[in-house]
Symmetry: C2
Subunit: 394 residues, 2 copies
Amino acid sequence: MKIKGFKTAAVAAGIRYADRLDLGLIVSDEPAVTAGAFTTNQVKAAPVVLDMERLKQGRAQAILVNSGCANACTGEAGMQAALATGNCAASLLNIAEEMVQLSSTGVIGDQLNVTAIEKAMPALVAGLSADNFELVAKAIMTTDTVSKTAYRTVVIGDQEVNFMGMAKGAGMIMPNMATMLAFVLTDARISFPQLYKSLLHGVERTFNRITIDGDTSTNDMVLVMANGAAGNPWIDEDDSNEQKIFQETLGDLLKDLALQIVADGEGATKFITIRVCGARDEQDGKQIARTIANSNLVKTAFFGEDANWGRIMAAMGRSGVRICPDRVDISFGEVLIVKDGLGQGKEAERAATALLKDKDIVVTIDLKDGNQCTEIYTCDFSIDYVKINADYRS
Amino acid sequence: MKIKGFKTAAVAAGIRYADRLDLGLIVSDEPAVTAGAFTTNQVKAAPVVLDMERLKQGRAQAILVNSGCANACTGEAGMQAALATGNCAASLLNIAEEMVQLSSTGVIGDQLNVTAIEKAMPALVAGLSADNFELVAKAIMTTDTVSKTAYRTVVIGDQEVNFMGMAKGAGMIMPNMATMLAFVLTDARISFPQLYKSLLHGVERTFNRITIDGDTSTNDMVLVMANGAAGNPWIDEDDSNEQKIFQETLGDLLKDLALQIVADGEGATKFITIRVCGARDEQDGKQIARTIANSNLVKTAFFGEDANWGRIMAAMGRSGVRICPDRVDISFGEVLIVKDGLGQGKEAERAATALLKDKDIVVTIDLKDGNQCTEIYTCDFSIDYVKINADYRS
């Protein structure tokens, strides 16, 4: 898919490794309405700090993104490095430097290789085209094993409106109000308040519902740029029909990207949906689901294809949410394995164990305490996760 | 060591496996002042519920403990099983059943094999002797690779007072107000309020400061029995000299046991002390230390002997405690690797990496934000942890 008015490019700048795509550029012909959601980690990378400040204007025209270095915990030098690379891009693109959003991912604590980036910039800008979106998605990968993109088209008014999104992330994933890197481009015509509202609505239900290892990164961000090239009727009213279509489509695309991140979790062999029903409110349900999804014991049991529901009960019990243990039902897929807090015997365990051979597993917990249902998406915890993270920097 | 007035025994009752010590008994000749600290997990095993109720009297005469089955999530049948085994012990010992404390550890969700325990009881009671303490410590092991005991002797008044303690636990360890199983026997003469106070004081500073995998068990308990046989001057006043000696000695013994648990953490290859200094208050320091100690990324980096301080900064940043990232110092042993939030370069990293080859590692974080120092003890996260927990029930 191409979207009118957006061009992208990627090159191998040698930021950490030679001959590996590691620098990407996304440019809108005209300033685009742009909204962002950023990490809640107090330790924020230099580009995150800069972007948050710049996005107060609600507009941007370019995103410059590198892998191989997070530019986090790099102090004043790191901020100067971010400014310098942004400035270099802005002058070659002939736009104001405040219109450049910066994004970095990789090892925390290393200083950014500004020289390498500046040297690569002319080729990067020269390579801008409408066809390189998938290449940029590759350039932002770190421990990802596959690149992650998603596309959508809807009709708003009589106009076809297009979306394309990319994301990266496989470890240090428990986004909280934001995620690892994700960039979404659309040609929708939409006001900043409506764009921002739709982004937060979508992020809360997608990226904020995934966890791989319970660790929140210093560099998480989701940026969405809307350049208006579709010429649809302006989306600028709460709860208008157009706003609803836009929000739903954006949310659907964000969920697609978020689930791709989980499926590519470091070392993951299973995709697991933890669905908590019958909660008193959504917050309670989310907290219980998240505690289960982050339990190493639950996750290693899934890796071992062991229907060890006792670990799920134990995780619920320490979640901080008041529960009635003797009212809880747990199902693996369609197999009811715990009813009213009690195991349903060998036959149920055998059926559940058989089901755990699948790659895609849904665990449903019914608290029978209210009407709220919520889902968190996670993966299992394998030997490879440990191997990957014991060796990551070498 | 022997303590006058206490006898112990252990047998292989075949609760889960054949020919493996799995049932232990601790008996005081006379009713002993007894205090307990129990799991804060809302999902509490039947014996925990029963013990908490019985300990309201502040007295107990026996502890019956089994491994191989946690008797948790077992409903009314599990409670009846706990009552039946306690009753069986009480009648053979010729004591009131309320004087028996029960304790179970093993797989959650399985029903307790009452028949096996009742069948083994006569041999267990017949085997009671002053010399079997180490055997009971073996009988309570599950994934533990070594049994854990500690002994202390102090003089209170003119009297020698003795302590002996045992503990078990290697996984599902992040005690919160309590721990995995630990039993302490002393011949001190002490009132219940002073015993209870000393226990809580000790547990808060020892078992509540360790974490192996962030999971809190359904069966955690620490019991301390004081039978008074030492004949020391009664310890029954706050802050008396005797109370202080007692509290300090008990705390020291509890720390010894708690650290033995960490050192035997499932799959652990390193013993890691996370020391947070310069915190505004102890709660803040504890929360930061615990977030670091529970980060899978920090723990896998230690396993990989990688001085990856960026992961420590990222964990601090999501701990929920307000910090000033650009004021933080981090040292590995004596090596200052981060100063004012910035990495100290290749030389410091090389020195830190060399130091990570040790088995015993102290990480010191100085927040420079206050005067409080606190420590949390943990271990690294290895491939073997995943192997052990993917296979635990098979």
